[in-house]
Symmetry: C2
Amino acid sequence: MTTTPLTTTPTVAVPAALDAGRELLLPALRDAVRRHLGPEMARLAEYHLGWADSDGNPTSSRGGKLVRPALSLLSARAAHGSAEDGVPAAVAVELVHNFSLLHDDIMDGDATRRGRRTAWTVFGVPPAILGGDAMVTAATSALLEAEAPGARSATASLTAATQRMINGQCSDLAFEQREDVTLEECLRMAGDKTGALLGCACSLGADLLGAEPGLVDRLTAFGEHLGLAFQLVDDLLGVWGAPELTGKQVGADVRVRKKSLPIVAALNAPGAQELRALYFRTEPLDEDDVRRVTDLVERAGGREWAHAEADRQAAAARRSLDFPGIPDGVRDELLDVAGFIVGRQS
Amino acid sequence: MTTTPLTTTPTVAVPAALDAGRELLLPALRDAVRRHLGPEMARLAEYHLGWADSDGNPTSSRGGKLVRPALSLLSARAAHGSAEDGVPAAVAVELVHNFSLLHDDIMDGDATRRGRRTAWTVFGVPPAILGGDAMVTAATSALLEAEAPGARSATASLTAATQRMINGQCSDLAFEQREDVTLEECLRMAGDKTGALLGCACSLGADLLGAEPGLVDRLTAFGEHLGLAFQLVDDLLGVWGAPELTGKQVGADVRVRKKSLPIVAALNAPGAQELRALYFRTEPLDEDDVRRVTDLVERAGGREWAHAEADRQAAAARRSLDFPGIPDGVRDELLDVAGFIVGRQS
């Protein structure tokens, strides 16, 4: 049994598992995009993934951090397979994740992602809708073509997680129009939007190998708790920020009056009248208002609750891995990646 | 062997297979929507499918004609299964078809479908994007949960057909910006956009039952040829119309300068200079111009070619069913539905 800590304390070291995974993942991802997508859809996907500029010329970028697919490779190893065995699961998870980013950028009207123009602003909305459709469809193909005993089960798991992610995004959009969002609803939304796919990423390699359901369930629980811890940390940064490290402006989520977890916790706390009046008024919030809201959220206990809940979720994630079948080394690497995600500063 | 004719001559009789199929299909479709989609996404899907108004109250509408899923039920019977055996395939095909309609309506900016407001105009673009995502994801779930030997193969076939459909829509959008679309490209686009899913619909029930590949291939070919014949007839109506029967205005496709099959055939014919100059000019076309273009397309042979090609594709579809394993009664019903599709007036 390992003693690697998993806390929400900031860390900057990139875990070895991410670098090791990248060598396996990038060629497999490129291959999947080229084989399963048509040429025009592949061009859009390669731009979105950071591998090509808008004319299709290769960039020097390494693309995203590939955290989810690295977890899928580890999950194959947790089931005593090789990292290679987990590649189809990893590719499928990364395609689903990027399908959601592509469509979310359209829905949210976001013009930039990772310092580049979003795909819909470069290629137009219709091709970006189709590009997302093509990526989620390719994910199923990539998984089904795997010569592995659990291909059907893994595809069903990924599909169910995708459906939950869609429901989470739907709730998130619906919350924008509502003043009565409860903390329970908000936690369920975060579990669906962030937790479901991360839970799937952490178990899909094992599922694909036909691992025993007990192990698959533990790995899923690990990822779901991790996803909630990550979302809580992300939401804390959205209010109190760390612009020099994350690029997130202090008060970014307050300015757009987002119903994020610490804010919803505060809005539902006793004595939140002033906060509610300010947050739900029709006029825009100026910089003084943003500071006042931030202060009121903290006074109502939103910050403290979110920190404590992130720690609880991180601890629950860690406990999920107390399962005798998982090799100690793999458990350590899973906890390394988890620590990187929830303590991330960039 | 049957002697049922399959021509592109107009017919109005609704085949018995469509009415019989509806009794099986509607409850299964409703069940799939309710089980696999979240409540908000289900509400949007039920509106889009014509079963509910925008508040979620049931309508008296029977929804669409359910042609594709009826073909999937027949394909299970072609493989000596029961219609019931084909239900998961039928449900999955209809979900994919409606995913494409939902997203296409957004991309094309269409405000009405089947005489009702399109879903994106009622619920907004973001929920309609998510609704399509939810339906294509539910299709995979519906198929994978089937207790049938070919569930994995059928899911892979449906996914490949979906990817081709997406590529076809992508090409169709790209054609709008181009003056050099060849007839070959246009036929490939129609094969992808319309033929692929219809080919899949006609074979998926057999595939799900683990039928021999020879039969699955023949049924796929039947549906692909049928899809092209259907598209050619649809494109002919888009230019020469039959407004009193179809709701399509004479010249509808000419007015928006669509690159449909008869028009692309004419644009690539020798001596099409006047047609090309008129069709590709920047100023809008007035009613006289629309009539002149229509006349020039006919003179260049676009109408005659499209009629002849539709008949050739219908004949090829019919020949695809000359396969000894298909029960004669099922072949007759497949040809009945095919005749309804390509000869349809409403």
